[in-house]
Symmetry: none
Subunit: 197 residues, 4 copies
DNA sequence: GCTTAAGCGAGACGGTACGTCGCGTCTTTCT
DNA sequence: AGAAAGACGCGACGTACCGTCTCGCTTAAGC
């Protein structure tokens, strides 16, 4: 039984070096080809130290992505919902296209599918609070009559995000701006303010 | 260079045993924990034979899923588009819930995300022709004024499928019937013929 | 370069606890399975402290054995050389059979074989002065005509001790009393005074 | 549970390369500093293969020494027992002094002390049958009146071998020719033909 | 009695070897 | 020639110990 280590005594330099090395290696070799050994060597950190603080490669990369992710966790609010949504979704796509984060994030996403625990971490650290913001904005919009009073926000929200994942998983090209515009248009047509004006 | 083997002399019993073993093991241990060695042992087939005919575990499982998948490749056409869509999407979800296929399919899907080639195979063998059918049905519906003449079918199609994938990847619960109903309602509101103004 | 520590300020409780822990662990797990970490934990002493005062596990155990060894460093002299030798050799065997010291001593002995420095320490601290006593006694005996005047004491001494080591190394059963008697008889026949011709 | 491998299918080249590498590395670095990894690398053999056939480094080195040991398993018989013994013991010492075998044999010997199983192997493969020969020769000599009829051969045999081990363990210089002569002289004086001629 | 420098317990760390596992290739023998 | 059996080289895994280190805390000597 290896006792739990004391986080207070953790050396932050090793932690940072590990996360940085993980991201770099994902870029250079692709997530699947990255090994914990390679991360340790690149970071100048011992494997024991890595395993002391992370259970697996996926956890390292997840934390690295979380830490390095462009922070926009607050939803834009320009008053124009459609364009706010566009900006928001563009932001999400930005992570996939980011040369430094894309390969890493893709890898974690793939592994999440086979690892319920990792998926849980991923949702907690990267997804849920951002989605909550979107939800809030939409709810407010519905109150403000920017949306139909009976708009099914839950489904709408799902719809807005989901195509990114399907395309990512099946290696279809990710949505571009034009696609986003059409997507948002379709959704607004379904849940926009009742056309009875 | 090992010459390509002659498929005519291939022993079909070995092929079937391999595919069956692959599916069983995915059920028992989960896709990630299945190894080619285990498949070979379970199937009573030599590893050399397996590698003669498949490049990797993922290819075996993909073929096994393809072969065992409930075949409904033809789109239902009851005249009621909404209910046809519901049936169709239920069918897709059936593969995920199928106790024999679910774990295997999930695994291939996950690995596809990291392997462009596998994703290509997956689309070719399991996805594209089915989507084409859906596309055809929708196009016909638009012609028949079951849908708005300017309905953005490409996006609509995407939207209908995508939530399954997002939920699958992030380990959210998969859509149930109620959700499908709401999803289809939303889409129909956007592209349905209603706009009788 | 870490400066040499000041022995005056050394905490004796830590030293004793370390030596005791080392012996206990040798008994419980066998010398080979004892680790410095385990000694430190058991003794409630930090590893830094251990390495401040000892270079390695072997040195700790050697010191522990030295300290705990039944002290009979003075050679018995009852006038009967044969029985004195018997008593003496029994004493040596006692260390091997001592439940508290045996495993530890065995371990140090084994490691000595691969570590010239440790062997040197071992001879200095545990062996040489005792052998010197035996030597002295034998020389006196030769002077007193208890032994032949031309007795080859160096070889005789060697012979008396050596079987213990050979048996120890090769895991033959250690000499028992009967064996000692025969051994001493043989030696006395070779170097005893008998040759009254 | 890894099933036992089939020795018939074993690749002899790998076996030989492993044994050779083990011996070389013992010479270059000393037994203690040799690692299984290093043996594998030097031999161009995988670690898995090594562990398939040997349980530990010590077993490899033991087998290597056994295989490479100068074969004289037959006891010389020139009619002159003393000189035969001298030749025999010189032969044993030769293994310790052999630049190719010495370090390896020393290492196995040391480790035997801590590993009853290894000691058993060592006795079986290298020691017992040779000692049996010596025993036979001595018994014959006693019958032929080259030795006293009541000579205690068991002890005598022990005595002849043992000093080598004691000196080896404690890093005293190994016996040289002069010492052997004196040792044999002493033993012969004890068990030689009764001086009443 | 106050400072200060050492010893100390705790335990994280970089390193290195361990013994195992899975991959994809190969060799042998049988059919 | 295809296949079953399974040994092999490779390389990553996750663990264990080593000996060093950094951190506060204690503790005694010198002011």
């Amino acid at each position: 039984m290896t006792r739990a280590p004391n986080p207070d005594r953790r050396r932050d330099a090793s932690r940072k070096a590990t996360l940085a090395a993980a991201l770099e290696l994902c870029v250079e070799r692709g997530y699947a080809a990255v090994t914990v050994d390679a991360i340790a060597t690149r970071a100048g950190v011992s494997k024991a130290t890595i395993y002391r603080w992370w259970p697996a490669k996926s956890a390292i990369v997840l934390e690295a992505v979380d830490e390095a992710a462009p922070i926009p966790e607050t939803f834009p609010d320009t008053g124009d919902l459609a364009s706010d949504l566009h900006a928001w979704l563009s932001g999400i796509l930005g992570v996939f296209h980011d040369p430094r984060l894309g390969p890493a994030f893709t890898g974690v996403l793939a592994e999440s599918q086979l690892d319920a625990n990792l998926a849980h971490q991923l949702r907690e650290r990267l997804i849920n609070h951002r989605v909550a913001q979107l939800d809030e904005r939409m709810t407010k919009a519905r109150k403000n009559s920017e949306l139909a009073p009976d708009a099914d926000l839950e489904v709408a929200l799902d719809i807005l995000h989901s195509p990114i994942y399907r395309r990512q998983v099946l290696h279809y090209p990710l949505p571009d701006d034009a696609y986003l515009t059409r997507l948002i248009a379709l959704v607004m047509r379904a849940i926009g303010p009742t056309r009875a004006d």
